[in-house]
Structure formats: structure tokens, C-alpha cells
Point group: C2
Chain length 458, copies 2
Amino acid sequence: MKALSPVDQLFLWLEGRQQPMHVAGLQLFSFPEDAGPKYVSELAQSMRDYCCPVAPFNQRLFTRFGQSFWIEDKQFDIDHHFRHEALPKPGRIRELLSLVSAEHSNLLDRERPLWEAHLIEGIRGRRFALYTKVHHSVVDGISAMRMGMRALSPDPNERDLPPVWANTPKRRERMQLTANPVAAVSGLARLTAGLSKQIATVPALAREVYQMTQKARSDDDYVSIFQAPQSIINQRITGSRRFAAQSYNTSRFKALSKVFGCTLNDIVLAVCGSALREYLISQNALPDKPLIAMVPVNLRQDDSAGGNQIAMILANLGTHIADPANRLRVIKASVEEAKCRYKQMTPAEILNLTALMMAPTGLNLLTGLAPEWRAFNVIISNVPGPKEPLYWNGAKLEGMYPVSIALNQIALNITLTSYVDQLEFGFIGCRRTLPSMQRLLDYLEHGLRELEVAANLK
Amino acid sequence: MKALSPVDQLFLWLEGRQQPMHVAGLQLFSFPEDAGPKYVSELAQSMRDYCCPVAPFNQRLFTRFGQSFWIEDKQFDIDHHFRHEALPKPGRIRELLSLVSAEHSNLLDRERPLWEAHLIEGIRGRRFALYTKVHHSVVDGISAMRMGMRALSPDPNERDLPPVWANTPKRRERMQLTANPVAAVSGLARLTAGLSKQIATVPALAREVYQMTQKARSDDDYVSIFQAPQSIINQRITGSRRFAAQSYNTSRFKALSKVFGCTLNDIVLAVCGSALREYLISQNALPDKPLIAMVPVNLRQDDSAGGNQIAMILANLGTHIADPANRLRVIKASVEEAKCRYKQMTPAEILNLTALMMAPTGLNLLTGLAPEWRAFNVIISNVPGPKEPLYWNGAKLEGMYPVSIALNQIALNITLTSYVDQLEFGFIGCRRTLPSMQRLLDYLEHGLRELEVAANLK
């Protein structure tokens, strides 16, 4: 019996019928060449045979005197956790996204280990998919994605790979990836949870906040804490989700970052900013002031050094600017300014400043008291993924898309990951708060082309 | 804006993550002969076109000062309510039941009209299915089933039938069926809700209760109020459901009722009792005392008379008796005794006695205070259905199965309905409280054969 940490407990409290707190990953595979007509049914049967999961997949909640614990589930039922499903015809990606949208809207059963894996057949072009859903109190989004990758192998000839819930710790270690960024939502809650203690103990913070306020007066594009505008993204959400996903060739983003002399992540933000601008215009809901994104960034420039130094920055998305190159300049300046400020600070100061920035949002998540105090409008999180192609019992992983969490007042989350030479975007949002949000995919492509035209690449 | 009745409000209060309060119907169709390969996709598209539903399908909840109202949903989104899905291969009934089990475990979104319709393709033997799920606060189980039937036609050549949510009131009237029994669960809650008032005002009831107590002392098989034994069916439930369904030829039941000189419903209870006995033995959990079923019965013998007189009776299922013919005798006597008692009572007295019988269960549902006061162990409800074959735009309805509600302390509900010459059984239960409950289908068949052997019919 292991007590939940306060932060993991927080994810249980935050969860409601309208705000499920599970994260997921969608993996798309192509059939191995020698796959017969019963390939997926046989795969499903072989997965059902792994009916004795390892921790945390065998742990269920147990609550006593208001404190929750993880205990082993003595009546584990693999048929509840592993589901074999199919797409209706014609089995396009559209049908797949629609299935994932519906599944991601459903709450996990709290009487059982908090995870489900859905093997999905009937996808056009000899493909199948695996949608794996885990509660945020068990793992954060990044760990969930990494878990999914650990079950795979770089060797197309390796067979008899156990599914993720049956992975042995040894195998896990071997497959451990080096990247270790902080998941945006997880970081948010972790910071919120520790907030009261830290703010009280670090008065040096006051100076930083003072400087931020001064700067805000003299520079219109500067992002301070409480300036994110009201937008339709920032409303109460309902329980139904829309998931949209798209793969891009990373080279398109790299070419742009070279021309504009900025980071690949700046281009990502610019393209997202463009897509959000177009979407808000289509809904007659573009705010006069720019949308602000919360973005986890790696402050360490030197990739060779072990470990990472992650901070949350607030980036101006320039959604009030029509010209794509100008928009990119504002974004780049806003990200550089934030990074630069962090560089002059100690890690403790960074943590505290981040906590302060998150405070209004964290407060609202927990209490709903002050929705007009808004530090940011949307979360955009870029998570490094595997650089080599991966295989699952011979089936090649063609793409992998993160499916994150929509929150009250933050109805949209954009998470992307890299895989070999692809950038994989996953949009999750409340489909009622954000009607037709699947259009964001078209607007994303449009935003990218717009920049390519501005850079004379098209 | 229309306020919810206290009873409908009650269904909202009773609902929780572990106890969804929606009812559903599963309809199985065969393709029309001229159906092409795109038949189901085209059907799905034509259903999506009906995107302006009629009441109650366009009504969502709105709560103010603790009172709930129905208001029109101004942002109705047909893609949320209508889902097109498919079974994985091999697409047997087993895969269909597994999909329905999973879907029936999911809560409806309370920010929207409380219904969903799932069109399911990929069923073997040129068949498809429609699973329609409605919250109990909108309609009771029987009305839901009847609604599903109203969307159908006895004419195989009738086309362009609108789906149930777009049905016009005129069409509804035309298709109205005459049978009008009270749904078991609904009746239970309705009775519970009115309980305190009625008990206080009818002292004549005391005499009846006294007589019941006296009888209980002298007759072992007599069913009084608090004597249902503890069993594994009567525990706290979890959120995950198992649905099992089976069609039987009604003639088998009729032949038995003729041989044994009892009603068809007595045979149904005997076969259910036999299945429950076998199941409990397989789980090492057969109580020494017989299980008690709550059964809605029609007290009016004369079918020609309009209207019905429905009461809830408590039937001794004789699960402690190994011999099938003896078990049937106990069941028959217990049902006759209950009906006979009702006949000597006025309708008001019947209502009050029923309310009293339900009281411990209703109280426990609402408060969980006295789980050892148990009036019954399981609900068995037999609802008359259509006598003629029905068609949906040329597709023949092959079978229809009710999917009801499992409750805390009543983890199993058996609802059956008739359709032409078939008896359609639907079992819904908590799959965690009742492991491998799909075996009940085998045990049901076994129970039927056992009686046929005893009757020299096999």
C-alpha cells in the first residue's frame, strides 16, 4: 500500500465528469509484410494473454480517512483494460480521430487500475492503431508516451514483445530514453501544489515581479502575468472531446528556422499562432490582444550535458498581427526575452517565478474563483521523441500522437512530439467550447505555407 | 424551460461514476436484399442529416438554485449524439455484446441532451445493429424501448423513415403500442419518492403487514419483506458493465407452461432461477435461503380490456431447490399467493404495499444505511413487445434486447421482451461484482432443457 503524493491526489480532485484527467497516446502502425488476414485478431489474443500486469498497471485506488493509496488489484480483469475495436468503413484517419475523440471523453473506472489500451483495426492502407490511456495520477503525459515507446523495439525482427503493462523493469531500463522534459499540465499542477510554501520563503521574487511590471508598461509585446485576453478557448468546458492529429515533415520547420534565424520551436509557435488566429476569425472571436501560450522550454543549450533545465515560459503568439513574418518576430522576441530573464536567475528563482505565473490558473483550476486573472490562453508543449524508427513485433510505427487534457478555462491543449523526421501534432479540446476545432489542422497547414511563402521557400 | 419532476431529479442524484442511470435498447437488423457495400455508411450519413431533433432529444439540463430544468440545447451537435462504429473481426455476437458492455459503462455528457445512438457495422451474416442509450431522467426503460420501435415500420417497403430523435409527434401516435407496463427500476424509484407521504396516510396497511408476518411464521416458502438473503449480487458495484443477450423461441416456454399448468412468466422465472442457481454454485456463493426477485406483473387477466394494472411482486426463485419441477412449484405458488393477495386489495392499498416492500431497497439506494434489510436480490422484468415483424427502411428487425441498469446492492438486472415469436433476454450487471456473468446465458439454456426433460418434452 503506497500513499499518493499530494500532486497525484490533486489530479483525482480536479477530475470530474466534465474534466477527465487522463492522458493518452495514439500509435499508428503498418502491418508487417508477412501479416495474414487474422493478424490483428491474433495480436489481440496474444495481448489478452498478458493478464498479470506489473506495477503501476496492477494498482488500484483505495481511500481511507480521505487519503488515497495504491493497492494491488486482486481481481484484475484484462478484458476490462484491453479492448479490441474496429473503425467503420471507409476506415480513414477521420474515422480513427473520431473514435479516439469519443474514447478520450470517457472516464476511467476508479475501482480498477486506471488505464485502458485499445487495439484498433480496420484502418485503410494496411494499418492498425493502439490508443493507450492512463490516468494523470499514475503517470504524466510524457511518461505515458515514453511508456508506450518502451514497449517497442528498433529491431524489425524482434518478436514476442510484451505489451506495455507486462513490460519487465529490466526491459524498461534498456529502452529508457534520455530526454526528460516536464509535462506541461503536470508541471502546472506540481507548481500549484507547492506554491504557498515557496512564495512565502523567497522574497527575491518581488524584485523580478516588479521588473516585469515596469517592463510591461514600456513594451506592448512584453508578456507579464495577468494579461492573457479573454477568448472562447477560456471558458468552462463540457465532457466531450475532439481529438485532431497531423504529421509534418520536420524539414519544413527546419528550413524556416534557418531562413528566419530562430529556433524550430519558434516556428512551431508561429504556425500554431497562425492556426489559432484563423480559427478564432472563423468563429468571429479573435481578441484584440494577442493570445498567450504556456510553453515548457529547455533552458540548457548544450545538448551533450546530461539532464535538462525546464521552465515554463509565457509566449506571445502574436494572434493580433496579420503578417506572418511580423508575427514570428514578436513570438521570437517574446521567447528570447523570457529565456534571457531565466538565465539571470537561480533555479530556485526560476521555479518560483514559474509558480507565480501559473498561480492564477492553478487557483482557478482548483477554485474557479477568479477566471478573469488569466496568465495564458493555451498550452503548447513540444516533447522530443525517438530518433530511430521503432517496431512492434515487426509492425512499423508510422506515427505517434499525444492526446492530452483539456481543462476548465483552458479548453485547448496542443502537444507535439518528434519521431524520426516527423513532427506529430496532437490537438485535444472540448468539442462544445470549440466548435469545428478539427479545422485547426487545415489552418496549421495554411500557417506553414504562409511562412514558406514569406521565406521564399515556395 | 420545464422543471424536472422529483422522480426524474432522483435519477440524476442516484447517478454516479459507479452507477450510471441510463437505459438502452439494442436492435439487430438484417440488410435488405438490395443493400450495396456502402449501405451502412449511407445510412449513417442519412441519420446525421437529421440534425434538428424534436423534444426530448433536443433538451439539456440546466440547474438553478438546486432545481433542474430541461431547456433547449441551442448548440446541438449531431456528431456527439450519433456515432458510427464497427466490430472488430470476426464480428460475432460476442464482439457486439462486448462493445455494448463497454458503451453502457460510459456516462452520458450532462451538458448535452442525455442520449446517444450508435450504429454498428461489421456484424457477421449481413447484419448491423443500433444501440440507443437514453438517461432514465428522460424516459424509463420501457418508453425507451417503445421509442426505438416507433421509429420502425411493419411495412418492408417503407423508406425514408426518420431516426427516433427526428420522429414527429404524429408518427409517434400512429406507432403507439397498447401495452403499458411499469418499468421495474422506474417503478422502484417512483414508489420510493412518494413513500413517506403514503405510508403515513394509510393505516389499513398495518393489517396487511401483520398478516404477512403471521404467514411468514407458518410457511417457509412465503415471501415477506425483509427476508432476501445476502448474496454476491447484493454488493456495492463498480462502473463497468457486462451485457449478455439471447433470443429464445417463445414456443419452448409456452409448451412448458401448458405441461406444468402455469403462466409463461412462471416458466421465465423458473429458468432464470435455475440459471442464477447454477451461476452462484459456479462462484461458490449459493445462499442457503432462496433468492427473491422483484417482478412487475399485470394483475388484469383479461387481455381485451384497455389499460393495465401493474404491481411489483416479490417472487421466491427457489434457488435452494435442486429439482427443477419442485423449484417451479415454489415459484408458481409464490407468484399466485402474491397476486391473490393483491386481488383482495384496492389499488391504493396495492400501491402502498408495493411501496412498503420497496422501502428498504429504496432507502439503501439513497442512503446506503441498512444494506442488511433486503427485500429482493434481483430484478426480473418481462415487457411485452411487438407481435408483427418490423422494418427500418427495408432492413428487417431480427431481434431487440433491453439494456437496463445495475444498482448498488442489486448488481444484476434481467429484462426480457417479446418480439413476434421470440423471447429476447437482456442481462446487465456489474462485471466486477459478478465475474463471468456471460455464463448466465449457458445456464439459462441449461435451465430450459432441464424443465423440458422434466416435462418429457425432450
